[in-house]
């Protein structure tokens, strides 16, 4: 009964989404207030209905209702509750329901908090949101129904892939999807602006918080996925340039560019047409990510050809939305008035540079990810594009960007003074250089580029601090004046500084751990000791242990450093009973210096165990930096200006004054 309620709610939600798509659009066209007013309640109702479906599916999972095929395939009685819940989105059908739930949540949020939006804009935005929801609900109902019943119901399910039974991965998809789907807001606003044929700074002020929120979630989602890969996959890697990682990284790069161009648009009314295009591109990349992951095209082009129903459907959705949006853009964008002028050396100019490099960067990732697929589909030739290719094409684009980041916030709007900005950054540059020289001097091994990378990270952090120092006039004004300025500084300034510093932290983490990780591959018998990075590990032996739904063999290592006991490490190999497959659980000892990381392997012929030990210096900085970026976004989002939203000015017609200069 519960499953049928969920199924019915999904179909109702589809009907409501279609209404939400059609009526407000007509209303906005013929300026009928009543038709336009349908949009808000429809968006809210649609959210409630999708939420009912989602809760129904979750109930089936939590109560282990194996008469529902989806539950039977992806759950089991003995599974801990957390993974029964995360099992809901740990499969294709359930994850699509989560996708639509988040989409509906964003729509309902606009309906609820968008009271001060111009009616026409609001109606158009919600209509576009409704159309996306309708497409994906149709997809779920026709090809990916999670509520199909089994008769007779089996006694126990097949369980969830053990590798997914992990706390970080339980929450990774919701964050990732919130990021993906959140960009639909920017997309809907862009389409609404194109339909309207006008756009102003208030538009950017509305779009920015939504984009920022989506970007924050995507940042955290990607970081969580990378952290999970680091400790679960058993060799300490954190980024693999895997097509699926790329699928989430491309929207992140485009979304980052969008955040920055939206600033220009809000503050200076410039880059309008580009910002609109970027909003379309960002969500298109999100859609493409969904297609890549959901269609099965990545496993192999052939797998896609064998069961193409889902893939073709998502491809069609993609084609309609991306093609339609770009066509609309080509048709209507020339109508949009151009905004303020600016010199190449200016804050706007620096943000154009940011956009140039980020856009080329995602284009590089895009080509590298899709080229092998396209080549195989067209010619049948198979090639591989892996980490060496991406490192080679991505790094030259990202390095100049990182060097340029601290300059941006120090340049004035309209016309900036590069020399003055450089002078202000002298201290930061000296600090970065000093660190570089110091690292070079003490370096014993590792690539010569690594000290440069560290210097770059320090440069980013010091550059972010420099901007704050000058904005509060720390060394010019009296202490009380500086303090007053510090408190009155808009939160978005702190947000920017935090996010840029976070980027620097990530850079240092990546460079140090890549350049100076140490590794030992050993065959150890109980009683043996091993040395790595100043630690001594004594191997005490392997014992069996029983978990809630798995058996494991746990190795015990006693870790000492300079004769003093530091910790015990217990890497293990798990065998999941129901799923009949296993995982390796690394034993990790985190410290500020870095992570000591031990992995237990198979028993060899002579009774010894194959053991891998790693020391990953400063590796935590990667995720700490990502977290700092997330916090920077949150601080910026709490800025009064964004919280209050667009002022009444949005109601008046957009000024069409060309060139203020």
């Amino acid at each position: 009964m519960i499953a049928e309620t969920g199924h019915y709610a999904l179909i109702l939600a589809l009907a409501v989404a279609i209404v939400q798509m059609v009526l407000p659009l007509i209303g906005a066209r013929i300026r009928d207030q009543q038709l336009m007013a349908v949009a808000g309640p429809a968006a809210q109702l649609q959210f409630v209905l999708v939420a009912i479906a989602f809760v129904a599916l979750m109930t089936a999972y939590v109560t282990s209702d194996f008469s529902v095929e989806n539950v039977w395939r992806n759950s089991a009685v003995a599974k801990p509750l957390l993974y029964k819940i995360s099992g809901v989105w740990g499969n294709h059908e359930g994850s699509m329901v989560l996708w639509v739930l988040i989409l509906a949540l964003f729509g309902a949020a606009v309906a609820t908090f968008g009271a001060n939006l111009p009616h026409q804009l609001k109606a158009n935005v919600l209509a576009v949101q409704g159309s996306i929801a309708a497409a994906f609900l149709l997809f779920i109902v026709t090809t990916s129904n999670p509520f199909i019943r089994l008769d007779p119901a089996p006694f126990d399910g097949q369980g969830l892939n053990p590798v997914l039974q992990d706390p970080a991965l339980a929450f990774h998809p919701p964050f990732l999807y919130t990021g993906y789907v959140g960009f639909s807001m920017a997309f809907s606003f862009a389409i609404a602006a194109l339909i309207d044929g006008r756009i102003d700074a208030a538009w950017a002020r509305w779009v920015r918080p939504w984009t920022l929120a989506a970007w924050m979630c995507l940042t955290l989602g990607i970081a969580m996925g990378s952290w999970w890969a680091y400790y679960e996959l058993g060799w300490g890697g954190f980024w693999f340039w895997d097509p699926v990682e790329n699928a989430s990284f491309m929207p992140w790069l485009a979304g980052t560019a969008l955040l920055h161009s939206a600033v220009v648009m809000e503050k200076r009314d410039a880059l309008k047409v580009w910002t609109i295009l970027l909003a379309i591109i960002t969500f298109s990349l999100s859609l493409m990510g969904t297609f890549l992951v959901r269609s099965g095209v990545l496993t192999s082009v052939h797998a896609f050809a064998i069961d193409p129903a889902r893939g073709i459907f998502i491809l069609a959705i993609m084609g309609v939305f991306i093609g339609g949006a770009l066509a609309l853009f080509a048709w209507r964008a020339p109508l949009l008035a151009q905004g303020g002028l600016f010199a190449p050396i200016s804050r706007e100019g620096s943000l154009v540079l940011n956009n140039l490099l980020l856009t080329t960067a995602w284009a590089a990732v895009f080509v590298g990810t899709l080229y092998p697929l396209a080549l195989e589909a067209l010619t049948g030739d198979k090639i591989s594009v892996g980490p060496p290719f991406f490192n080679l094409t991505f790094a030259p684009l990202i390095l100049p960007l990182l060097i340029a980041v601290p300059f941006g916030p120090l340049l004035a709007w309209k016309r900036g003074d590069l020399l003055a900005a450089a002078q202000r950054l002298t201290a930061a540059a000296c600090l970065a250089l000093a660190v570089l020289v110091l690292v070079l001097a003490f370096r014993q091994r590792g690539p010569w580029l690594a000290p440069l990378g560290i210097g770059l990270g320090v440069w980013l952090i010091a550059g972010a601090a420099t901007e704050l120092v000058y904005r509060v006039k720390l060394f010019e004004a009296s202490r009380s004046e500086a303090w007053r300025r510090l408190r009155n500084l808009p939160r978005s300034a702190y947000g920017t500084a935090l996010a840029h510093a976070g980027l620097g932290i990530v850079v240092i983490g990546i460079v140090v751990t890549t350049a100076w990780r140490s590794e030992a591959i050993l065959a150890m018998k109980p009683g043996d000791t091993a040395q790595i990075a100043g630690y001594t590990l004594a191997f005490k032996g392997v014992v069996p242990r029983q978990g809630p739904n798995y058996r494991e063999r746990v190795a015990l290592f006693e870790v000492t450093r300079n004769g003093e006991k530091v910790t015990e490490l217990t890497p293990s190999k798990r065998e999941y009973t129901v799923e009949r497959s296993g995982t390796t659980e690394a034993g990790i000892h985190p410290s500020w210096r870095g992570d000591l990381y031990a992995v237990l392997g198979d028993q060899l012929k002579d009774g010894a165990y194959s053991i891998r030990l790693y020391f990953n210096p400063l590796v935590r900085l990667i995720w700490l930096g990502a977290l700092t970026m997330f916090i920077g976004g949150a601080v910026s989002l709490s800025d009064r200006r964004l919280r209050i939203g667009a002022p009444r000015r949005a109601q008046t017609k957009a000024a069409t004054v060309p060139a203020a200069e």
Binding site: G386, K573, T583, L604
Partner: protein
Amino acid sequence: MRFRRSPLVLFLAMGLLAALPAHAVEPDEVLQDPALEARAREISEGLRCLVCQNQSIDDSGAPLAKDLRLLVRERLKAGDSNQQIVDFIVARYGEFVLLKPRFETLTLVLWLATPAVFLAAILIIALAFRRRRAEAQNPAPLSIAEKRRLKRLLGEG
């Protein structure tokens, strides 16, 4: 077999592949000479494990990857150069084995696309700057509607 995959690939591949953990480079494979071993690792990182998803033979626990790792080490001990070894393996397994494709007709677009996008973007930005500056110097004449509006504003002012 052990497949290194990112979380979402796992969602995708769930039920299709069972991820059984095993090790990549095993203790008995490691060469005595650290310099040779370092070269072996460097070569291995650029070679794809043919039965895995986007994973190098250095990270993979698949038996085929192990065979390839041993092959690389054998050739190293026989005194081959890195390039000779890579050529040897490509001759046996095809271009698919290279994680960084060679620059040739088939991969022309792959390698040139990024620089092309970069140059095109710079060109577009430069043209936009020039056009905007020209427009600012010679503003377009007022349209009829604008003239009417100007008249009205002046009249009211």
